[in-house]
């Protein structure tokens, strides 16, 4: 069951990483998210649970680990709904980080003006 949106520091950290991955068309596995956010495994997986329940991310198993003999990993990426929602949330809560990410990954990008009445 999806509860009310509870925005915490780890939640925003994970979203930021997902948004970066979205801009570079990457898919992330748990260990990569932990390394990027520098948060503990249980914290990150707690956030992943919530994001999955909200339908913001979707997971799929990789065919095979790049290194032979290793267990396959689960890869996550933002859904279209998650992409919109995370962009909105990051724009409100972490505008500097969002701008820095865009400048780095999409130089020359200009934000669209917000529509009247948009939240």
């Amino acid at each position: 069951m999806v509860g009310p949106l509870r925005v915490t520091g780890p939640f925003l950290d994970v979203l930021e990483v997902f948004y970066q991955a979205f801009l570079t068309s990457d898919q992330l596995h748990g260990w990569a998210i932990v390394k990027a956010t520098k948060r503990s495994g249980p914290t990150v997986y707690g956030v992943l649970d919530r994001l999955e329940e909200m339908g913001w991310i979707v997971g799929r198993w990789e065919q095979q680990h790049p290194e032979p003999g290793k267990p396959r990993r689960r890869l996550y990426s933002l859904t279209p709904q998650g992409e919109t929602a995370s962009r909105e949330l990051l724009r409100d809560r972490r505008p500097d980080a969002l701008r820095a990410t865009r400048d780095r990954l999409m130089p020359g990008w200009q934000p669209k003006p917000r529509q009247a009445g948009a939240t």
């Binding site: 596995h29 748990g30 260990w31 503990s40 495994g41 249980p42 997986y45 649970d49 267990p71």
Partner: protein, 225 residues
């Protein structure tokens, strides 16, 4: 010197063995954590168990793998505790006390039974007892073990009572027989523990009976209205 060398070899072998089984333990632990954390969602538990295994595998170093698995286990236990705290308590505390009393008494009875058999065997080996006495010790031991198993498995009041009383009686008897022996104080502590267990069980019984009466009264008033 030879003992020292042997000890150091054995210690290093044991350390190497423990280090080698760390990843295996970590994987088991992390699978258990996933099952506990997602107990209400079996599909997700299965996915997470496999996923966390891969996560642990990516962690460098055997000790770090185990520590990460321990962190996941701690988070799972914390989650379970939170869930349990939110859930309304259905079992009356008296019944829980009684069940706990039965389980502890049963365990004590099994330990006592094994002790009986072991002491009989040791006495025979020392040549201080006859086969007939060993048979008696063995049958007494087996009886205690059987009673203990019934007390644990079924929480039977009678089995629990027998377990408590027999443990208390043989430990008190043992204390007076071997009062000068090194392990006589252990028997005394055991006898006191049995007495405490007896009180513990009685307390639980009275709590459970009170709950039964309250429930019966509630049922009566509901049917009357």
């Amino acid at each position: 010197v030879i003992t020292g060398i042997l000890l150091s070899i054995l210690t290093s072998l044991a350390a190497a063995e423990i280090t080698a089984i760390n990843p295996w333990c970590a994987k088991k632990l992390v699978r258990w954590s996933a099952r506990r954390r997602y107990a209400d969602n079996q599909a997700r538990a299965k996915i997470r168990a496999e996923e966390l295994e891969a996560f642990i595998d990516a962690r460098p170093g055997n000790l770090l793998k185990l520590m990460t698995a321990a962190a996941f286990a701690a988070a799972a236990v914390a989650g379970m505790t939170r869930k349990r705290a939110r859930r309304p308590t259905r079992v009356h505390s008296g019944r829980r006390v009684r069940r706990l009393g039965a389980q502890v008494a049963g365990l004590a009875s099994i330990v006592g039974g094994l002790g009986f058999i072991a002491s009989g065997g040791a006495s025979l080996a020392n040549g201080t007892t006859a086969i007939a006495q060993l048979t008696m010790a063995g049958s007494d031991g087996l009886f205690l073990i059987a009673v203990g198993m019934v007390a644990i498995g079924k929480c039977e009041t009678l089995a629990t009572l027998i377990a408590q009383l027999s443990c208390a009686s043989w430990s008190i008897g043992g204390y007076f027989t071997w009062h000068s022996h090194l392990w006589a104080p252990v028997l005394l502590v055991y006898a006191v523990a049995c007495a405490v267990l007896f009180l513990f069980g009685a307390m639980g019984d009275s709590g459970a009976r009170k709950q039964d009466r309250t429930q019966a009264k509630g049922a009566d008033s509901t049917s009357a209205t």
